[in-house]
Protein backbone atom coordinates (compact mmCIF):
# COMPACT_ATOMS: atom_id res chain seq x y z
CA UNK A 1 0.00 0.00 0.00
CA UNK A 2 1.34 3.41 -0.90
CA UNK A 3 1.14 6.46 1.29
CA UNK A 4 -0.49 8.62 -1.40
CA UNK A 5 -3.40 10.82 -0.40
CA UNK A 6 -6.40 8.54 -1.10
CA UNK A 7 -8.72 11.31 -2.29
CA UNK A 8 -6.15 12.59 -4.75
CA UNK A 9 -5.40 9.02 -5.85
CA UNK A 10 -9.09 8.38 -6.56
CA UNK A 11 -9.45 11.59 -8.59
CA UNK A 12 -6.33 10.68 -10.52
CA UNK A 13 -7.42 7.09 -11.06
CA UNK A 14 -10.82 8.28 -12.25
CA UNK A 15 -9.15 10.62 -14.72
CA UNK A 16 -6.70 8.03 -16.00
CA UNK A 17 -8.45 4.71 -15.61
CA UNK A 18 -12.21 5.20 -16.10
CA UNK A 19 -12.18 4.68 -19.88
CA UNK A 20 -9.82 1.70 -19.59
CA UNK A 21 -12.02 0.00 -17.01
CA UNK A 22 -15.26 0.58 -18.96
CA UNK A 23 -13.58 -0.44 -22.22
CA UNK A 24 -12.09 -3.68 -20.94
CA UNK A 25 -15.34 -4.67 -19.20
CA UNK A 26 -17.35 -3.92 -22.33
CA UNK A 27 -15.14 -6.25 -24.31
CA UNK A 28 -15.31 -8.97 -21.71
CA UNK A 29 -19.06 -8.84 -21.01
CA UNK A 30 -20.27 -7.46 -24.34
CA UNK A 31 -22.60 -5.02 -22.58
CA UNK A 32 -22.05 -1.29 -22.10
CA UNK A 33 -24.63 -1.08 -19.35
CA UNK A 34 -22.96 -3.76 -17.21
CA UNK A 35 -19.55 -2.19 -17.87
CA UNK A 36 -20.67 1.31 -16.90
CA UNK A 37 -22.43 0.20 -13.74
CA UNK A 38 -19.62 -2.08 -12.60
CA UNK A 39 -17.02 0.63 -13.23
CA UNK A 40 -19.06 3.13 -11.20
CA UNK A 41 -19.40 0.59 -8.38
CA UNK A 42 -15.67 -0.13 -8.41
CA UNK A 43 -14.89 3.58 -8.01
CA UNK A 44 -17.47 3.86 -5.23
CA UNK A 45 -15.76 0.93 -3.48
CA UNK A 46 -12.41 2.69 -3.85
CA UNK A 47 -13.88 5.80 -2.22
CA UNK A 48 -14.98 3.62 0.70
CA UNK A 49 -11.89 1.49 1.10
CA UNK A 50 -8.78 3.39 0.00
CA UNK A 51 -8.88 5.91 2.85
CA UNK A 52 -8.94 3.08 5.42
CA UNK A 53 -6.87 0.43 3.65
CA UNK A 54 -4.47 2.66 1.72
CA UNK A 55 -4.14 3.19 -2.01
CA UNK A 56 -3.29 -0.08 -3.82
CA UNK A 57 0.10 -0.13 -5.58
CA UNK A 58 -1.57 -0.47 -8.98
CA UNK A 59 -4.88 1.43 -8.77
CA UNK A 60 -5.84 0.63 -12.38
CA UNK A 61 -5.48 -3.12 -11.90
CA UNK A 62 -7.32 -2.95 -8.56
CA UNK A 63 -10.22 -1.05 -10.18
CA UNK A 64 -10.41 -3.44 -13.14
CA UNK A 65 -10.42 -6.51 -10.91
CA UNK A 66 -13.00 -4.98 -8.57
CA UNK A 67 -15.20 -3.91 -11.48
CA UNK A 68 -14.94 -7.40 -13.00
CA UNK A 69 -16.18 -8.94 -9.75
CA UNK A 70 -19.04 -6.42 -9.56
CA UNK A 71 -20.04 -7.29 -13.11
CA UNK A 72 -19.99 -11.01 -12.36
CA UNK A 73 -22.07 -10.40 -9.23
CA UNK A 74 -24.63 -8.56 -11.29
CA UNK A 75 -24.78 -11.27 -13.94
CA UNK A 76 -25.25 -13.89 -11.18
CA UNK A 77 -27.94 -11.77 -9.53
CA UNK A 78 -29.78 -11.52 -12.79
CA UNK A 79 -29.57 -15.29 -12.99
CA UNK A 80 -27.90 -15.41 -16.35
CA UNK A 81 -25.91 -18.52 -15.49
CA UNK A 82 -27.79 -20.48 -18.12
CA UNK A 83 -26.43 -18.04 -20.66
CA UNK A 84 -23.46 -19.92 -22.08
CA UNK A 85 -21.73 -16.80 -23.30
CA UNK A 86 -21.92 -15.10 -19.93
CA UNK A 87 -20.68 -18.29 -18.28
CA UNK A 88 -17.65 -18.46 -20.57
CA UNK A 89 -16.87 -14.81 -19.92
CA UNK A 90 -17.19 -15.32 -16.19
CA UNK A 91 -14.73 -18.19 -16.29
CA UNK A 92 -11.92 -16.08 -17.66
CA UNK A 93 -12.85 -12.91 -15.80
CA UNK A 94 -9.81 -13.09 -13.57
CA UNK A 95 -7.34 -14.11 -16.28
CA UNK A 96 -4.68 -11.53 -17.19
CA UNK A 97 -5.26 -8.95 -19.94
CA UNK A 98 -3.55 -9.76 -23.23
CA UNK A 99 -0.75 -7.28 -23.77
CA UNK A 100 -1.68 -4.20 -25.84
CA UNK A 101 -5.39 -5.00 -25.83
CA UNK A 102 -6.34 -2.19 -23.50
CA UNK A 103 -5.63 0.71 -25.82
CA UNK A 104 -7.53 -1.03 -28.57
CA UNK A 105 -10.43 -1.43 -26.17
CA UNK A 106 -10.60 2.29 -25.51
CA UNK A 107 -10.54 2.94 -29.23
CA UNK A 108 -13.37 0.42 -29.70
CA UNK A 109 -15.32 2.17 -26.97
CA UNK A 110 -14.91 5.56 -28.65
CA UNK A 111 -16.01 4.25 -32.04
CA UNK A 112 -19.05 2.58 -30.51
CA UNK A 113 -20.08 5.75 -28.64
CA UNK A 114 -19.63 7.85 -31.80
CA UNK A 115 -21.43 5.39 -34.09
CA UNK A 116 -23.18 7.09 -37.04
CA UNK A 117 -26.44 5.22 -36.27
CA UNK A 118 -26.76 7.33 -33.10
CA UNK A 119 -27.98 10.93 -33.12
CA UNK A 120 -25.22 13.53 -32.77
CA UNK A 121 -26.38 14.72 -29.34
CA UNK A 122 -26.52 11.10 -28.19
CA UNK A 123 -22.97 10.47 -29.40
CA UNK A 124 -21.77 13.48 -27.46
CA UNK A 125 -23.53 12.41 -24.25
CA UNK A 126 -22.45 8.78 -24.53
CA UNK A 127 -18.81 9.69 -25.24
CA UNK A 128 -18.67 12.02 -22.23
CA UNK A 129 -20.22 9.33 -20.00
CA UNK A 130 -18.44 6.18 -21.18
CA UNK A 131 -15.08 7.54 -22.30
CA UNK A 132 -14.86 10.77 -20.31
CA UNK A 133 -16.36 9.38 -17.11
CA UNK A 134 -18.56 12.46 -16.55
CA UNK A 135 -21.67 11.75 -14.51
CA UNK A 136 -25.15 12.07 -16.00
CA UNK A 137 -25.89 15.24 -13.92
CA UNK A 138 -22.62 16.79 -15.13
CA UNK A 139 -23.46 16.09 -18.77
CA UNK A 140 -27.04 17.32 -18.29
CA UNK A 141 -25.71 20.58 -16.84
CA UNK A 142 -23.21 20.98 -19.64
CA UNK A 143 -25.93 20.86 -22.28
CA UNK A 144 -28.70 22.56 -20.28
CA UNK A 145 -30.88 19.47 -20.36
CA UNK A 146 -32.88 18.00 -17.47
CA UNK A 147 -31.04 15.23 -15.68
CA UNK A 148 -33.86 12.74 -16.24
CA UNK A 149 -33.94 13.56 -19.95
CA UNK A 150 -30.17 13.11 -20.22
CA UNK A 151 -30.40 9.83 -18.29
CA UNK A 152 -33.07 8.60 -20.68
CA UNK A 153 -31.01 9.62 -23.70
CA UNK A 154 -28.05 7.58 -22.49
CA UNK A 155 -30.20 4.60 -21.50
CA UNK A 156 -31.90 4.63 -24.92
CA UNK A 157 -28.52 4.74 -26.64
CA UNK A 158 -27.24 1.75 -24.68
CA UNK A 159 -30.44 -0.14 -25.50
CA UNK A 160 -30.08 0.63 -29.21
CA UNK A 161 -26.44 -0.44 -29.25
CA UNK A 162 -27.49 -3.76 -27.75
CA UNK A 163 -30.72 -4.35 -29.71
CA UNK A 164 -29.34 -3.33 -33.11
CA UNK A 165 -25.97 -4.94 -32.37
CA UNK A 166 -23.75 -1.94 -32.97
CA UNK A 167 -20.36 -3.64 -32.98
CA UNK A 168 -17.63 -3.07 -30.41
CA UNK A 169 -14.86 -2.80 -32.93
CA UNK A 170 -12.38 -0.52 -34.60
CA UNK A 171 -13.84 0.05 -38.11
CA UNK A 172 -12.24 -1.54 -41.16
CA UNK A 173 -9.61 0.42 -43.10
CA UNK A 174 -12.19 1.51 -45.75
CA UNK A 175 -14.52 2.96 -43.15
CA UNK A 176 -11.86 4.37 -40.85
CA UNK A 177 -11.45 7.90 -42.31
CA UNK A 178 -15.23 8.57 -42.24
CA UNK A 179 -15.61 7.09 -38.77
CA UNK A 180 -12.62 9.01 -37.35
CA UNK A 181 -14.11 12.16 -38.81
CA UNK A 182 -17.36 11.33 -36.94
CA UNK A 183 -15.43 10.98 -33.68
CA UNK A 184 -13.63 14.29 -34.28
CA UNK A 185 -16.94 16.03 -34.96
CA UNK A 186 -18.15 14.89 -31.52
CA UNK A 187 -15.01 16.15 -29.80
CA UNK A 188 -15.05 19.46 -31.69
CA UNK A 189 -18.66 19.98 -30.64
CA UNK A 190 -17.79 19.35 -26.99
CA UNK A 191 -14.86 21.77 -27.28
CA UNK A 192 -16.92 24.49 -28.93
CA UNK A 193 -19.68 24.23 -26.36
CA UNK A 194 -16.98 24.77 -23.76
CA UNK A 195 -15.30 27.58 -25.64
CA UNK A 196 -18.45 29.48 -26.53
CA UNK A 197 -20.80 28.28 -23.83
CA UNK A 198 -24.42 29.26 -24.35
CA UNK A 199 -26.99 30.34 -21.81
CA UNK A 200 -27.54 33.33 -19.53
CA UNK A 201 -26.51 31.51 -16.34
CA UNK A 202 -23.49 29.75 -17.81
CA UNK A 203 -19.87 30.77 -17.51
CA UNK A 204 -18.79 32.23 -20.86
CA UNK A 205 -16.03 29.62 -21.06
CA UNK A 206 -16.63 26.12 -19.72
CA UNK A 207 -13.16 24.94 -18.83
CA UNK A 208 -14.50 21.50 -17.87
CA UNK A 209 -15.71 20.92 -21.44
CA UNK A 210 -12.70 22.37 -23.28
CA UNK A 211 -10.34 20.40 -21.02
CA UNK A 212 -12.30 17.19 -21.50
CA UNK A 213 -12.38 17.65 -25.28
CA UNK A 214 -8.61 18.22 -25.35
CA UNK A 215 -7.99 15.24 -23.08
CA UNK A 216 -10.08 12.91 -25.28
CA UNK A 217 -8.48 14.27 -28.46
CA UNK A 218 -5.04 13.61 -26.94
CA UNK A 219 -6.19 10.07 -26.23
CA UNK A 220 -7.29 9.56 -29.86
CA UNK A 221 -4.01 11.10 -30.99
CA UNK A 222 -2.09 8.59 -28.87
CA UNK A 223 -4.17 5.76 -30.33
CA UNK A 224 -4.07 6.99 -33.96
CA UNK A 225 -0.75 8.89 -34.17
CA UNK A 226 -0.60 8.89 -37.99
CA UNK A 227 -4.00 10.46 -38.61
CA UNK A 228 -3.50 14.02 -39.90
CA UNK A 229 -6.95 15.28 -39.00
CA UNK A 230 -6.59 14.03 -35.41
CA UNK A 231 -3.34 16.00 -35.14
CA UNK A 232 -5.06 18.96 -36.83
CA UNK A 233 -7.98 18.99 -34.41
CA UNK A 234 -5.69 18.69 -31.41
CA UNK A 235 -3.56 21.59 -32.70
CA UNK A 236 -6.69 23.65 -33.36
CA UNK A 237 -7.96 23.06 -29.84
CA UNK A 238 -4.58 23.82 -28.24
CA UNK A 239 -4.08 27.04 -30.19
CA UNK A 240 -7.60 28.14 -29.28
CA UNK A 241 -7.30 27.11 -25.64
CA UNK A 242 -3.95 28.97 -25.41
CA UNK A 243 -5.82 32.26 -25.83
CA UNK A 244 -8.57 31.44 -23.34
CA UNK A 245 -7.50 33.66 -20.45
CA UNK A 246 -6.83 36.63 -22.75
CA UNK A 247 -10.17 36.21 -24.44
CA UNK A 248 -12.43 37.21 -21.53
CA UNK A 249 -11.85 40.47 -19.61
CA UNK A 250 -11.98 40.82 -15.83
CA UNK A 251 -15.53 42.11 -16.21
CA UNK A 252 -16.60 39.06 -18.21
CA UNK A 253 -16.53 40.67 -21.62
CA UNK A 254 -15.23 39.05 -24.80
CA UNK A 255 -11.87 40.49 -25.90
CA UNK A 256 -11.43 40.18 -29.66
CA UNK A 257 -8.20 38.92 -31.21
CA UNK A 258 -6.95 42.43 -32.08
CA UNK A 259 -7.33 43.65 -28.48
CA UNK A 260 -6.02 40.60 -26.63
CA UNK A 261 -2.94 40.84 -24.42
CA UNK A 262 -0.75 38.42 -26.34
CA UNK A 263 1.61 38.15 -23.38
CA UNK A 264 -1.21 36.37 -21.54
CA UNK A 265 -1.39 33.59 -24.12
CA UNK A 266 -0.20 30.19 -22.95
CA UNK A 267 3.21 29.82 -24.61
CA UNK A 268 3.51 26.09 -23.91
CA UNK A 269 0.15 25.27 -25.58
CA UNK A 270 1.06 27.49 -28.54
CA UNK A 271 4.43 25.76 -28.92
CA UNK A 272 2.74 22.35 -28.84
CA UNK A 273 0.11 23.48 -31.36
CA UNK A 274 2.76 24.89 -33.69
CA UNK A 275 4.76 21.65 -33.44
CA UNK A 276 1.71 19.67 -34.54
CA UNK A 277 1.03 22.04 -37.46
CA UNK A 278 4.67 21.79 -38.57
CA UNK A 279 4.50 18.00 -38.29
CA UNK A 280 1.49 17.98 -40.63
CA UNK A 281 3.18 20.35 -43.10
CA UNK A 282 6.22 18.07 -43.14
CA UNK A 283 4.01 15.04 -43.81
CA UNK A 284 3.31 16.48 -47.27
CA UNK A 285 -0.23 15.06 -47.38
CA UNK A 286 -3.10 17.30 -48.51
CA UNK A 287 -4.57 18.68 -45.29
CA UNK A 288 -8.18 18.24 -44.19
CA UNK A 289 -10.46 20.81 -42.61
CA UNK A 290 -9.09 20.67 -39.06
CA UNK A 291 -5.50 20.91 -40.25
CA UNK A 292 -6.29 24.02 -42.28
CA UNK A 293 -8.14 25.62 -39.35
CA UNK A 294 -5.16 24.79 -37.13
CA UNK A 295 -2.80 26.39 -39.67
CA UNK A 296 -4.93 29.55 -39.67
CA UNK A 297 -4.69 29.64 -35.88
CA UNK A 298 -0.96 29.05 -36.12
CA UNK A 299 -0.63 32.16 -38.31
CA UNK A 300 -2.56 34.22 -35.76
CA UNK A 301 -0.59 32.90 -32.80
CA UNK A 302 2.74 33.52 -34.60
CA UNK A 303 2.13 37.28 -34.86
CA UNK A 304 3.59 39.52 -32.17
CA UNK A 305 0.56 41.79 -32.51
CA UNK A 306 -2.41 42.14 -34.82
CA UNK A 307 -0.46 44.41 -37.23
CA UNK A 308 2.11 41.69 -37.78
CA UNK A 309 -0.53 39.14 -38.77
CA UNK A 310 0.18 37.63 -42.18
CA UNK A 311 -3.32 38.18 -43.56
CA UNK A 312 -2.45 37.05 -47.08
CA UNK A 313 -1.41 33.72 -45.59
CA UNK A 314 -4.67 33.58 -43.63
CA UNK A 315 -6.65 34.33 -46.79
CA UNK A 316 -4.74 31.71 -48.79
CA UNK A 317 -5.61 29.13 -46.11
CA UNK A 318 -9.28 30.15 -46.19
CA UNK A 319 -9.25 29.78 -49.97
CA UNK A 320 -7.93 26.27 -49.47
CA UNK A 321 -10.63 25.60 -46.87
CA UNK A 322 -13.41 26.88 -49.13
CA UNK A 323 -12.42 24.24 -51.67
CA UNK A 324 -12.97 21.51 -49.04
CA UNK A 325 -15.92 23.03 -47.22
CA UNK A 326 -18.09 25.47 -49.14
CA UNK A 327 -20.20 26.31 -46.08
CA UNK A 328 -21.41 29.90 -45.59
CA UNK A 329 -19.68 30.02 -42.17
CA UNK A 330 -16.30 29.43 -43.81
CA UNK A 331 -17.15 32.14 -46.35
CA UNK A 332 -18.02 34.50 -43.47
CA UNK A 333 -14.68 33.91 -41.74
CA UNK A 334 -12.86 34.31 -45.04
CA UNK A 335 -14.52 37.72 -45.45
CA UNK A 336 -12.98 38.85 -42.15
CA UNK A 337 -9.52 38.23 -43.63
CA UNK A 338 -10.60 39.99 -46.83
CA UNK A 339 -11.49 43.08 -44.75
CA UNK A 340 -7.91 43.26 -43.48
CA UNK A 341 -6.41 43.01 -46.97
CA UNK A 342 -8.92 44.78 -49.23
CA UNK A 343 -10.87 46.92 -46.76
CA UNK A 344 -14.29 46.63 -45.12
CA UNK A 345 -16.27 47.63 -48.24
CA UNK A 346 -15.07 44.62 -50.23
CA UNK A 347 -15.62 42.36 -47.24
CA UNK A 348 -19.13 43.70 -46.62
CA UNK A 349 -20.14 42.93 -50.19
CA UNK A 350 -19.00 39.33 -49.66
CA UNK A 351 -20.78 39.10 -46.30
CA UNK A 352 -24.03 40.51 -47.64
CA UNK A 353 -24.16 37.73 -50.22
CA UNK A 354 -24.51 35.25 -47.32
CA UNK A 355 -27.69 36.80 -45.93
CA UNK A 356 -30.05 34.06 -47.16
CA UNK A 357 -28.10 31.36 -45.39
CA UNK A 358 -26.87 33.14 -42.27
CA UNK A 359 -29.64 35.57 -41.31
CA UNK A 360 -30.28 33.57 -38.11
CA UNK A 361 -26.61 33.36 -37.07
CA UNK A 362 -25.36 35.96 -34.59
CA UNK A 363 -21.81 36.05 -35.99
CA UNK A 364 -23.14 37.10 -39.40
CA UNK A 365 -24.72 40.20 -37.86
CA UNK A 366 -21.75 40.84 -35.55
CA UNK A 367 -19.39 40.75 -38.56
CA UNK A 368 -21.61 43.12 -40.53
CA UNK A 369 -21.88 45.44 -37.52
CA UNK A 370 -18.11 45.60 -37.19
CA UNK A 371 -17.54 46.23 -40.91
CA UNK A 372 -20.22 48.93 -41.02
CA UNK A 373 -18.70 50.55 -37.91
CA UNK A 374 -15.30 50.64 -39.58
CA UNK A 375 -16.91 52.26 -42.63
CA UNK A 376 -18.46 54.95 -40.39
CA UNK A 377 -22.03 53.86 -41.16
CA UNK A 378 -23.19 54.07 -37.55
CA UNK A 379 -26.91 53.73 -38.06
CA UNK A 380 -26.70 50.54 -40.08
CA UNK A 381 -24.02 49.27 -37.74
CA UNK A 382 -26.27 49.84 -34.74
CA UNK A 383 -29.10 47.85 -36.33
CA UNK A 384 -26.70 44.97 -37.04
CA UNK A 385 -25.40 45.02 -33.44
CA UNK A 386 -29.00 44.90 -32.19
CA UNK A 387 -29.67 41.83 -34.27
CA UNK A 388 -26.40 40.16 -33.21
CA UNK A 389 -27.15 40.79 -29.51
CA UNK A 390 -30.62 39.36 -29.94
CA UNK A 391 -29.27 36.13 -31.46
CA UNK A 392 -26.08 35.65 -29.39
CA UNK A 393 -26.17 33.10 -26.57
CA UNK A 394 -22.78 33.65 -24.93
CA UNK A 395 -22.77 36.18 -22.07
CA UNK A 396 -19.24 37.51 -22.80
CA UNK A 397 -20.09 38.01 -26.44
CA UNK A 398 -23.33 39.82 -25.58
CA UNK A 399 -21.43 42.14 -23.20
CA UNK A 400 -18.85 42.92 -25.90
CA UNK A 401 -21.43 43.56 -28.62
CA UNK A 402 -23.47 45.78 -26.28
CA UNK A 403 -20.46 47.94 -25.41
CA UNK A 404 -19.49 48.28 -29.07
CA UNK A 405 -23.02 49.28 -30.00
CA UNK A 406 -23.23 51.82 -27.20
CA UNK A 407 -19.90 53.36 -28.26
CA UNK A 408 -21.20 54.14 -31.77
CA UNK A 409 -21.32 57.83 -32.55
Amino acid sequence: MSAADPREAITRAHYEEWARVVASLTRRFGDLDIAEEAAAEAFATAVERWPAEGVPPNPGAWLTTTANRKAIDRIRRENKRDDKQAEAQMLDADSPEPLGAIDDDRLRLIFTCCHPALAMETRVALTLRMVGGLTVPEIARAFLVQETAMGRRITRAKAKIKAARIPYRVPSADDLPARVSGVLAVLFLVFNEGYLATGPDTNPVRLDLTAEAIRLTRLIRALLPDDGEVAGLLALMLLTEARRTARISATGELVTLDEQDRGAWDAALIAEGHRLVRERLAAGVAPGRYQILAAINAVHTSARDIRHTDWSQVLALYDQLVRLDASPIVALNRAIAVAELDGPEVALAAVDRLEDKLAGYHAYHATRADLLRRMGRSQKSRAAYDKAIELAGNTAEIAYLTRRRDQLG
Binding site: H115, P116, A117, A163, A164, R165, I166, R169
Partner: protein, 107 residues
Protein backbone atom coordinates in the same frame (compact mmCIF):
# COMPACT_ATOMS: atom_id res chain seq x y z
CA UNK B 1 -28.83 -11.30 -36.15
CA UNK B 2 -31.76 -10.55 -38.44
CA UNK B 3 -32.68 -7.09 -39.68
CA UNK B 4 -35.83 -5.85 -41.37
CA UNK B 5 -35.06 -3.40 -44.16
CA UNK B 6 -38.11 -1.32 -45.03
CA UNK B 7 -38.12 0.42 -48.38
CA UNK B 8 -39.82 3.78 -48.02
CA UNK B 9 -41.31 5.54 -51.00
CA UNK B 10 -42.78 9.00 -51.21
CA UNK B 11 -46.07 9.58 -53.09
CA UNK B 12 -45.21 13.16 -53.94
CA UNK B 13 -41.67 12.33 -55.02
CA UNK B 14 -41.55 8.65 -55.99
CA UNK B 15 -38.33 6.80 -56.74
CA UNK B 16 -37.70 5.70 -60.32
CA UNK B 17 -39.63 2.69 -61.67
CA UNK B 18 -36.85 1.10 -63.72
CA UNK B 19 -34.93 -0.38 -60.78
CA UNK B 20 -36.03 -4.02 -61.03
CA UNK B 21 -32.99 -5.37 -62.94
CA UNK B 22 -30.60 -3.69 -60.49
CA UNK B 23 -32.59 -4.98 -57.50
CA UNK B 24 -32.56 -8.51 -58.91
CA UNK B 25 -28.80 -8.39 -59.36
CA UNK B 26 -28.40 -7.06 -55.81
CA UNK B 27 -30.64 -9.86 -54.47
CA UNK B 28 -28.52 -12.46 -56.22
CA UNK B 29 -25.46 -11.04 -54.54
CA UNK B 30 -27.21 -11.04 -51.14
CA UNK B 31 -28.03 -14.73 -51.66
CA UNK B 32 -24.49 -15.60 -52.80
CA UNK B 33 -22.95 -13.84 -49.79
CA UNK B 34 -25.34 -15.42 -47.31
CA UNK B 35 -27.24 -12.32 -46.18
CA UNK B 36 -30.55 -12.94 -47.94
CA UNK B 37 -33.48 -14.29 -45.90
CA UNK B 38 -36.48 -12.80 -47.63
CA UNK B 39 -37.47 -9.97 -49.94
CA UNK B 40 -40.66 -8.67 -51.48
CA UNK B 41 -42.13 -5.62 -53.12
CA UNK B 42 -45.58 -4.54 -51.98
CA UNK B 43 -48.62 -3.56 -54.04
CA UNK B 44 -49.94 -0.02 -53.73
CA UNK B 45 -51.30 0.98 -50.29
CA UNK B 46 -54.76 1.29 -51.92
CA UNK B 47 -54.79 -2.50 -52.09
CA UNK B 48 -54.49 -2.83 -48.29
CA UNK B 49 -57.29 -3.94 -45.97
CA UNK B 50 -57.19 -3.39 -42.21
CA UNK B 51 -58.90 -5.95 -39.95
CA UNK B 52 -59.71 -5.21 -36.31
CA UNK B 53 -61.06 -8.21 -34.45
CA UNK B 54 -60.28 -7.03 -30.93
CA UNK B 55 -63.95 -6.34 -30.24
CA UNK B 56 -67.02 -8.51 -30.61
CA UNK B 57 -67.07 -8.42 -34.34
CA UNK B 58 -64.35 -8.21 -36.92
CA UNK B 59 -64.32 -4.87 -38.69
CA UNK B 60 -62.78 -4.61 -42.13
CA UNK B 61 -61.70 -1.29 -43.50
CA UNK B 62 -60.51 -0.46 -46.95
CA UNK B 63 -57.06 1.09 -47.32
CA UNK B 64 -53.90 1.34 -45.22
CA UNK B 65 -53.99 1.77 -41.42
CA UNK B 66 -52.48 5.18 -41.77
CA UNK B 67 -52.62 7.52 -44.76
CA UNK B 68 -49.31 9.21 -45.26
CA UNK B 69 -47.16 10.73 -47.95
CA UNK B 70 -44.43 8.23 -47.19
CA UNK B 71 -45.28 4.56 -47.19
CA UNK B 72 -43.76 1.10 -47.04
CA UNK B 73 -43.07 -0.03 -50.59
CA UNK B 74 -41.23 -3.28 -49.88
CA UNK B 75 -39.13 -5.20 -47.41
CA UNK B 76 -35.99 -7.26 -47.10
CA UNK B 77 -34.99 -9.50 -44.22
CA UNK B 78 -31.24 -9.99 -43.91
CA UNK B 79 -29.05 -12.09 -41.71
CA UNK B 80 -25.98 -10.02 -40.77
CA UNK B 81 -23.39 -10.32 -38.02
CA UNK B 82 -23.83 -6.74 -36.80
CA UNK B 83 -25.29 -3.31 -37.60
CA UNK B 84 -22.19 -2.12 -39.48
CA UNK B 85 -22.65 -4.91 -42.03
CA UNK B 86 -26.39 -4.22 -42.26
CA UNK B 87 -25.81 -0.47 -42.70
CA UNK B 88 -23.25 -1.04 -45.42
CA UNK B 89 -25.66 -3.26 -47.35
CA UNK B 90 -28.54 -0.85 -46.68
CA UNK B 91 -26.47 2.02 -48.10
CA UNK B 92 -26.14 0.03 -51.33
CA UNK B 93 -29.78 -1.03 -51.20
CA UNK B 94 -30.98 2.58 -51.05
CA UNK B 95 -28.93 3.41 -54.14
CA UNK B 96 -30.01 0.25 -55.97
CA UNK B 97 -33.75 0.77 -55.42
CA UNK B 98 -33.59 4.59 -55.52
CA UNK B 99 -35.55 4.93 -52.28
CA UNK B 100 -34.96 5.56 -48.59
CA UNK B 101 -34.59 2.43 -46.48
CA UNK B 102 -34.95 1.87 -42.74
CA UNK B 103 -32.89 -0.77 -40.91
CA UNK B 104 -34.49 -2.25 -37.81
CA UNK B 105 -33.28 -5.25 -35.84
CA UNK B 106 -35.54 -8.18 -34.99
CA UNK B 107 -35.77 -8.89 -31.31
Amino acid sequence: MQYLISVIDDKSNPGSTDRQPAISAFNERLIAEGYWVFAGGLADTDAATVIDNRGEQAVFSDGPFVESKEYLAGVWVWEAPDLDVALKLATEASKVCDRKVEVRPFR
